[in-house]
Symmetry: C2
Subunit: 150 residues, 2 copies
């Protein structure tokens, strides 16, 4: 299988596969006589593992233990100790982010309410509907802040 076919089957691009190889994330592909990279099904499995983890918000480096687990011949990339450790630290990271977002949401919602009150006071008495919208938004969710992975 050449790079274009593998890329398509994996839902990615040749550029990305070369990039992973340059990082040492994927093992160097065999080369055909003309210098073209030659891949097997095991490479597809590694790429699927990487993509899944990326969709979860893992960085490429965090996928490395999973890929190496597959390279070591394990049927799954996440049954090795190092992979399990990454899963666990990711859960902790997620929890930390969630807590931060929750706190920030509360802060922003409070600021919004205050600012709307002050805006109304500044302008006189005319912007009532804004306050109702705000109250709805304030009750709707939890805080979030920034751009978490994934």
């Amino acid at each position: 299988m050449r790079i274009g076919e593998l890329a398509e089957r994996a839902g990615t691009t040749p550029r990305t596969l070369r990039y992973y190889e340059s990082l040492g994330l994927l093992p160097p592909a065999d080369r055909a006589g003309n210098g073209y990279r030659s891949y097997g099904e095991e490479h597809l499995r590694m790429l699927e593992q990487i993509r899944t983890l990326q969709e979860y918000g893992f960085g490429l480096e965090e996928t490395r233990p999973f890929v190496e687990c597959l390279r070591a011949g394990h049927p799954a990339g996440d049954t090795c100790a190092a992979s399990l450790a990454v899963y666990r630290s990711k859960l902790a990271e997620i929890d930390a982010w969630t807590a931060r977002l929750t706190a920030v949401r509360a802060e922003v919602a409070a600021q919004l309410l205050r600012a709307e009150r002050e805006a109304g006071a500044e302008a006189g008495a005319d912007a009532e509907p804004l306050c109702e919208l705000t109250a709805v938004l304030a009750e709707a969710g939890r805080p979030d802040e920034g751009t978490p992975p994934q």
Copy 2:
């Protein structure tokens, strides 16, 4: 007030102030006869507004309406309509992130549990404590993924 003093009072650096000015986020500072930038208290207020929002995870561009609100002479940066709109869209963004993190956490926790079972099966019967740790972690939190702003 020169740039170094303002930066220190605002808890930032001269480089950052020049950067903001280059973005047009801060108004161009007056210049003393020697070419040095000269600032007043109003610049400090703008910087405090920017810093607060950054701690909430706002990007610099998102702080622009707040700064312009102050520049327009309002006593607070967040009582203008554009600022309120940014607050509201930020709340929505936070809620979206929180939902995503929650979903991802559930996925990762499920994968972790499955992988631990499979790891135990692969190795025979010896890795029991791992499963107990996992159960604790799985109950502890919610999902998170990636690196949200702030």
